[in-house]
């Protein structure tokens, strides 16, 4: 009887540990994004950029694009502050290129940031792409509680399915090189 109890206890703990671990993994390249729901932005420009309509929530693969670059950041993170101009440069490089404009979109998710804090970050660095608050860390949690900045890139297929083609901690270093890498991995000409 005791043996069974011990076995049961061990099994439960191992299993619960496993579940927690599984939930805490950052998205893997080749895999899929966890279930993330974001609020459709109020601003008409941002709606147009993302190809969304109405109100309510949306999931990232619903964004009208072939490739979506997701930056998990925080207004409070010094490296994210340093990264901001580089990501703006990336945005501009995409928008200036007729082959890429409309095909690659960027969004930011502010881990633990309130709407006001996200907005402060946006204004400070003049960030042209949409940023979303994640005040209660819920998105951050399903993304494996990564450190910041963390970049995830997904490729959206014609059928609406998607796969992660980049998932890494830290700076993208150089906008041009990063864009080359993303074009190569996504097959976007």
């Amino acid at each position: 009887m005791k043996k069974i109890t011990i076995l049961l206890v061990v099994t439960i703990f191992l299993f619960s540990g496993l579940v927690v671990f599984a939930a805490n993994e950052p998205p893997k390249e080749g895999g899929m994004l966890p279930d993330i729901k974001l609020s459709v932005p109020n601003s008409p420009e941002e709606k147009t950029y993302l190809g969304l309509k109405g109100n309510g929530s949306f999931t990232i693969p619903q964004i009208k694009a072939n490739v979506v670059i997701i930056e998990i950041f925080s207004m409070y993170c010094p490296y994210c502050q340093k990264e901001a101009p580089i990501v703006n440069e990336l945005y501009n490089a995409i928008e200036k290129n007729p082959d890429l404009k409309g095909k690659i979109k960027i969004i930011g998710i502010g881990a633990g940031n309130t709407p006001f804090e996200v907005d402060t970050f946006k204004k400070t660095y003049d960030i042209p792409f949409p940023l979303f608050p994640d005040e209660d860390f819920s998105i951050h949690k399903v993304c494996g509680e990564v450190r910041t900045p963390f970049f995830i890139v997904i490729k959206i297929n014609k059928k609406g399915t998607h796969q992660v083609i980049y998932s890494e901690l830290g700076t993208i270093k150089n906008a041009e090189d990063f864009l080359k890498l993303i074009r190569k991995r996504s097959g976007l000409k």
């Binding site: 206890v9 993170c77 804090e117 830290g170």
Partner: protein, 201 residues
């Protein structure tokens, strides 16, 4: 008997592992990744309030990492003052809190306010800790010796010698207008502070 002990051990390990998973690590910045001591979730508050809104803010003079001594009274009649106590250098949450304030000098300027950052650490520790944050626009003050004396006078010294995570807003007359002795494990929302600054206008 032996099995019982094993079962108990497993139970304890299990509980510890679950508890350690529950605590959220809010110090996200890659910059501080290996340097931050993880104390786990702490008792949210561990001090008795000594001041209330409407009180005259106790004056103090403390050394800053730039070398000069800073007094509260030198700003009297000129600027509103926000005091940000953070528990200690190299701890989570606060390692991110000041870099955030560093971004919003314009907000403080808008409300004719300055910020004084205070911890109970000594100057070399504060210097090393704040160095990678880049140039901070606000003074960083050391309440190290006599240990935590200012924190004590403001009623925010915890029983283990670090301070609470607390914000005080003091108007130009030196009157305390806002006190937020925050849950030490959480970062105060920026908009809450801004709302209080707005009320000073």
């Amino acid at each position: 008997m032996h099995k019982k002990r094993i079962a108990r051990l497993i139970l304890i390990i299990g509980i510890i592992s679950i508890v350690s998973f529950i605590t959220t690590d809010q110090c996200l910045s890659e910059m501080f990744k290996d340097y931050i001591y993880q104390p786990g979730t702490l008792k949210p508050l561990d001090s008795m309030p000594k001041l209330k809104i409407g009180d005259q803010a106790p004056d103090f003079t403390l050394p800053s990492i730039s070398g000069e001594k800073i007094s509260l009274s030198q700003h009297l009649g000129k600027k509103n003052v926000v005091i940000s106590f953070v528990p200690a250098a190299w701890t989570p949450v606060c390692s991110d809190q000041w870099p955030g304030y560093n971004l919003v000098k314009n907000i403080f300027d808008k409300y004719d306010a300055i910020l004084l950052g205070i911890t109970v650490d000594n100057i070399p520790t504060l210097y090393a800790w704040t160095f990678p944050m880049g140039k901070l626009w606000f003074p960083v003050l050391s309440d190290f010796w006599p240990h935590g004396a200012v924190a004590e006078r403001y009623g925010v010294l915890r029983s283990n010698g670090v301070s609470e995570r607390a914000l005080f807003v003091i108007d130009k007359k030196g009157i305390i207008r806002y006190i937020d002795v925050h849950n030490i494990n959480k970062r105060p929302r920026l908009e809450d502070l801004v709302e209080e600054l707005e009320k000073l206008k």
